[in-house]
């Protein structure tokens, strides 16, 4: 029997994954990626095995798999463990609500004028904490009435320059941009058009990553299938699909193919069709000419590498590009996970733990003393602002300033 290269047989039990795990560093209740993953695997191979207690704490940061020197798919095993436990024990009310936040936000969006002050109200938050289990100690992101999706549908598309050369891309904006930060989406379109791309904003749905991360595989499959169907025409074309949220990118580029081969199979776009915005720009054959357009942006920025960005395997294209903006100082220190873990840090029992995990990043930021923090991930931005009080921006917002001079 050929030893399996990425599973149980490849693991040498070095424990490096456990050392890298943000939960294993701060909690004594999580068995750790090695125990929940390869160690428990031999029990899973026997029928009727139950998952180790506490294995459902994993929030899918993937740092275990990125740190494994032996190529074991530790994160994938932990994800399966979590999904199995979700199947056995069900999901908490808080989780079920938050993985439906996309839908809830869509419903709330027309009423944002009432909803926003309501969800800011401390009394309302305390009741939510007591009844639902969502912590009152961190703010919710604002909901916008004027969704990005609507703006994208109404906008006049700017044709890409250099006719004859294919400069068309499809923009996958993600739920957060659509409902919580539409100006970010507009900024992305502006940057891409400013760099001579023609931006198509196709029909699309939620990528499903909150469900994937929570272990609700049935729901995730449903959402992923729906999104794939909406994106069908784009997938069948040869348009690059450009994303600005690393978690969305990870879902489209990798998770669909590996988790849902029944509809994301042979005909599904290859990974290199899915591009982070900065990755796209860095690979522009006329990059030097584009960089020459940059105007100075004065500031001292700390760049935080989101876990899911690292999991994309594309390096740090936004840092490389922004370091070419005149007058801008970009300091990059990889200080680990910010601790929010998607919906993890919003849950009452895990709030303190998510804040403990943040200490590493907090210390690094304090050392550097920046004007603001940059990160592609909306969750990291929320957490870092909550922890440090500093403003946090998507790197594309700085790129926008460099291109428009504002």
């Amino acid at each position: 029997m050929e030893p399996e290269k990425t599973g149980l047989d490849a693991c040498v039990r070095c424990g490096i994954c456990t050392q890298a795990c943000p939960l294993s560093q701060q909690s004594q209740n999580f068995p750790g990626p090695k125990l929940s993953g390869p160690d428990a695997e031999r029990f899973r191979l026997a029928a009727n095995a139950s998952e180790p207690r506490g294995s459902d704490l994993c929030f899918g940061c993937q740092q275990c798999e990125l740190s494994c020197p032996s190529g074991v798919k530790v994160a994938r095993m932990n994800q399966s463990a979590k999904a199995a436990r979700a199947g056995e024990a069900g999901l908490s009310l808080a989780t079920r609500l938050m993985i439906n936040s996309g839908t809830m936000n869509q419903v709330a969006s027309p009423f944002s004028g009432i909803v926003n002050p309501t969800i800011r109200n401390p009394l309302v938050r305390r009741v939510m904490e007591g009844c639902i289990g969502i912590t009152a100690r961190r703010p919710f992101p604002e909901i916008h009435g004027a969704r990005f999706r609507r703006w994208a549908g109404k906008r006049k598309r700017r044709e890409g320059k250099a006719p004859g050369v294919n400069r068309q891309i499809a923009y996958y904006f993600g739920c957060f941009t659509d409902l919580n930060a539409p100006s970010l989406g507009k900024s992305a379109v502006r940057c891409l058009e400013g760099l001579d791309w023609e931006v198509v904003v196709p029909p699309q749905g939620c990528c499903g990553i909150p469900r994937i991360a929570s272990g609700d595989m049935k729901g995730a499959r449903r959402q992923a299938k729906k999104n794939s169907k909406l994106m069908g025409p784009v997938f069948e074309s040869d348009l690059p699909v450009v994303f600005t949220s690393p978690s969305c990118g990870l879902a489209l580029k990798r998770e669909y193919r590996e988790l849902f081969p029944e509809f994301a199979g042979r005909d599904y776009p290859r990974p290199d069709r899915f591009r982070d915005l900065f990755e796209l720009i860095q690979n522009d054959p006329d990059l030097e000419e584009k960089v020459s357009r940059f105007q100075p942006v004065k500031g001292r920025a700390f760049y935080h590498a989101a876990c899911h960005l690292k999991a994309l395997g594309i390096g740090f294209p936004s840092v490389e590009l922004l370091r070419r903006v005149p007058s801008l100082e970009v300091i990059f220190l990889d200080a680990g996970c910010c601790g929010l873990g998607g919906t993890f840090g919003f849950k009452k029992p895990y709030y303190s733990l998510s804040m403990s995990i943040a200490e590493g990043v907090q210390n690094a930021i304090r050392r550097v003393n920046p004007d603001y923090v940059l990160s592609e991930c909306e969750m990291c931005r929320m957490q870092i602002t909550h922890v440090t009080g500093l403003p946090a921006f998507h790197p594309l917002e700085i790129l926008d300033r460099a291109l428009t001079g504002s």
Partner: protein, 425 residues
């Protein structure tokens, strides 16, 4: 396209030192690694040369002297190719980098030290974190740590048995007094799964450290020296040790434990941070799987999701663990560029039947043949590539496991290769 002056493959000590060395000459560097490097599996100490191969294991007291002896027997050894001056420069460079990373190390190229480990035995090494140095045994009289010593374990931290350590050290150095005890810190430490780095990060907190000191006071019976598992703080180990020494009025030393080790983690983290603060990158998680070349020029390397083009490349992936070499029963190969290897044994004789064979296992000496600047040689004595360097364990003609020289060879070859790639040699 991302533009780098140098791409280093491999995130262990060799890879990180190569990056730092090249950066010191102004190169823009990225380190691409399939995962964490083996520094995490080390004790955090830097071995230069522990044993000179022979019929029995004779420890080296003076690494530089040992290297000179080595040169007579093995002129192809990486230390010999580098030369004494380069070795001394590399050690000084490392100490400077470590100091810049807030990691205080001590030691010198003329004197090895024996430091106690969690197995109850001593290990021979050259450069040691300050936090371990009070436990170092003077090498020349085997008389053990002078003074009475308490070895204290931490309830809830299963990988450290103070009884084992105390008994082992007493056996190695009879006549010295070793006592063992346990510290009970309740709640945070009890019955949990927390990783050792997590324990260290807990002890970074002043409030937890105060309770730790109080708990240790109840066990301490006035011994001059206290040995503790190496989990004393992650961001500020020196601060933790000073607080302990002030609180207990005794000298405190850390004892390295099972991997992944906290001192190893501090070392890896410190070096990576320096690379990043100097504008370089460390990209972990994806192995290099493909390449493109033209004649003697390596043009690019590819992982599953990214292409790396640069004028120069360094391979520092180590050997079997890091998959810089792959082996089956019949064959050993360098899997990426298929570089010619030195394989000093016949088929199936790579491993000795005696596990702790003083001659070592011949497979440990397998590596890529290189010239004196560590550029890979082809089968005709010329160069396979003009713009590629090999560093660390992947080099031929040295056996790091037998000689206890792994870190030293990584350091020296990495330092030299970085300078050579920068055109500074």
């Amino acid at each position: 396209m991302s533009s780098y002056d140098l791409v280093v493959v491999g995130g262990g000590l060799a890879g990180l030192i190569t990056a730092l060395s090249a950066q010191s000459k102004g190169m823009k560097v990225t380190v691409v690694a399939r995962g964490e490097g083996s520094i995490l599996l080390s004790s955090g100490c830097v071995d230069l040369l522990g044993y000179v191969p022979g019929d029995s294991l004779s420890p080296v007291l003076d690494p530089l002297e040992g290297i000179r002896k080595l040169a007579l027997e093995n002129p192809e050894h990486p230390y010999v190719k580098a030369g004494e001056e380069m070795i001394e420069e590399a050690v000084a460079f490392l100490l400077e980098q470590l100091s810049g990373a807030g990691l205080a190390y001590c030691g010198d190229i003329r004197r090895n030290r024996w430091i106690p480990t969690a197995s109850g035995n001593y290990r021979i090494t050259a450069l040691v974190p300050w936090g371990m140095s009070a436990g170092a045994m003077p090498h020349d009289n085997g008389s053990g740590i002078p003074g009475k010593t308490l070895i204290a374990g931490l309830r809830g931290y299963r990988n450290f048995s103070p009884e084992l350590v105390a008994a082992g050290l007493a056996h190695s150095a009879p006549g010295q007094e070793y006592r063992s005890g346990w510290i009970d810190l309740e709640s945070e430490f009890h019955g949990g799964f927390r990783a050792p780095v997590g324990l260290a990060r807990l002890l970074d907190r002043q409030e937890v450290m105060s309770r730790f000191i109080s708990a240790l006071e109840t066990v301490h019976q006035g011994e001059e020296l206290i040995g503790l598992p190496a989990v004393l703080g992650f961001h500020d180990p020196e601060g933790c040790r000073r607080a302990l020494e002030e609180g207990l009025k005794a000298k405190v030393f850390e004892i390295p434990c099972l991997p992944p080790s906290v001192p190893g983690c501090r070392l890896a983290d410190g070096l990576k941070q320096r690379i990043q603060l100097q504008g370089g990158y460390v990209e972990q998680g994806f192995p290099v799987v493909d390449f493109e070349s033209r004649g003697n020029q390596l043009l690019c390397l590819r992982t599953e999701y990214k292409e790396y083009r640069a004028p120069a490349f360094v391979l520092a992936m180590g050997t079997l663990f890091g998959k810089g070499l792959v082996a089956d029963r019949a064959d050993i190969k360098e899997p990426l560029l298929d570089l010619p290897l030195s394989i000093p044994f016949q088929q199936e004789k790579g491993v000795s039947t005696c596990f702790l064979d003083p001659q070592g296992h011949p497979v440990g000496s397998v590596g890529v043949e290189t010239d004196n600047r560590f550029r890979p040689r082809d089968n005709n004595g010329g160069r396979s590539f003009d713009n590629v360097w090999i560093t660390g364990d992947l080099l031929a003609h040295h056996n790091p496991y037998r000689d206890k020289s792994g870190a030293g060879v990584a350091l020296v070859s990495g330092y030299l290769a970085g300078l050579s790639a920068a055109g500074a040699l």
